[in-house]
Symmetry: C2
Subunit: 192 residues, 2 copies
DNA sequence: CCACGTCGGAACGCAACCGTTTCGTCGTGG
DNA sequence: CCACGACGAAACGGTTGCGTTCCGACGTGG
């Protein structure tokens, strides 16, 4: 029977090593060292660094997002932005996510894991929020959920994970207003 | 006299190694191997991997962006989005940029280099475009250039460098329309 | 109470890379 | 035409990590 406390210590050590050195430089030896555990304990559980990381990341990322229902599109968008900002402000996430995304460009297994963890959950939430707005008449039906996700997630991700600057007061409110305007803007020629 | 053709071969090899393996896994030995060059030739030019990468990236990134002047805010935004999309579609850039951004979270030197290369040049362009729009009366004066940059760059970066999905036809047009709406949206309570 | 399996620790042989040094070759500037 | 310096190649000793194996200690389930 594998000891669960040790498994958990290894999982935590993996996250810390990922944040500190990135996937490329992360070594099993360093993970075991940080967890205060023999290398044997790690290899007894996972066959490779890739499987180890995929398992740990999957375990962390399964938190599903509650669908906001504030009664207005702008309120829902503001709610989503707040949740995304909180998630991206977690120091561990801010270090690890960009690193794994970069690694995903080379590694289909990691790409698939992140695809499932990041995009799919968000996609359904956005679709729901757009649907509610359409039902209230705030949006024409059949809005582009892919574009909407880009509009909602992109600016905040850029700001917090890429540029890494702090958020001024009212930033999220301003961004929610701007994003809502973007979502309600009429499409271009082809279907209008 | 250092031979310039060899310097150039090393620079190219660095970009290719960065794309293939990332900064963390990139080794001087592999760079020299790929360039068909002795390790000595590399160490004669740069003292460390960090300096090497910073020099190479700086050299590549100095391309300054022409400021669009189409006569409308939406036209200018569309023009910028096209340029950003073209830059982000370059396979080398798409592999290297996210990787270096992740590394920048751990390495102040790289962070500073990218800050100068990416954000500063874009910042001035956005400020100019907003100024022109304000002069035409399309925008209230004193718009938030930081927020504007996030709105313009974020969704495309998310789409092309993070989610890495292809762009549907008319995507850039739709995005330009949405982004323009976002830029012209009124701010929130504090100054309105 | 005993046997099994996990534990940490240490060592294995192997590979990659570090940054430096030495060597003989080549080509170019003075 | 000659000396200087950059060139590629090879080897240096040292470090780190790989994945595996063996060990004695511990503790828990049967």
């Amino acid at each position: 029977m594998l000891r669960e406390d040790i498994t958990e210590a290894i999982r935590l050590a993996v996250l810390e090593e990922l944040a500190a050195h990135g996937y490329g430089r992360m070594s099993i030896e360093a993970v075991a060292r940080r967890a205060g555990v023999g290398k044997t304990a790690v290899y007894r559980r996972w066959p490779s660094k890739l499987r180890l990381v995929i398992d740990v990341v999957s375990a962390v990322a399964v938190q599903d997002v509650a669908i906001p229902d504030t009664g207005t599109l702008r309120g829902d968008v503001r709610d989503l932005l707040g949740k995304i900002a909180r998630a991206l402000r977690d120091p561990l996430a801010t270090q690890i996510v960009p690193d794994l995304l970069a690694e995903a460009a080379r590694n289909p297994d990691i790409a698939r894991t992140l695809e499932a963890a990041l995009r799919d959950t968000q996609q359904s939430v956005v679709t729901e929020v757009l649907g509610n707005a359409a039902a209230r008449g705030e949006l024409p039906a059949g809005a582009d959920a892919d574009l909407a996700l880009d509009l909602i997630t992109g600016p905040l991700y850029w700001r917090l994970a890429v540029a890494r600057t702090t958020l001024p007061a009212d930033y999220l409110d301003d961004l929610a207003a701007a994003t809502t305007a973007a979502l309600t803007a009429p499409r271009t020629t082809r279907d209008g």
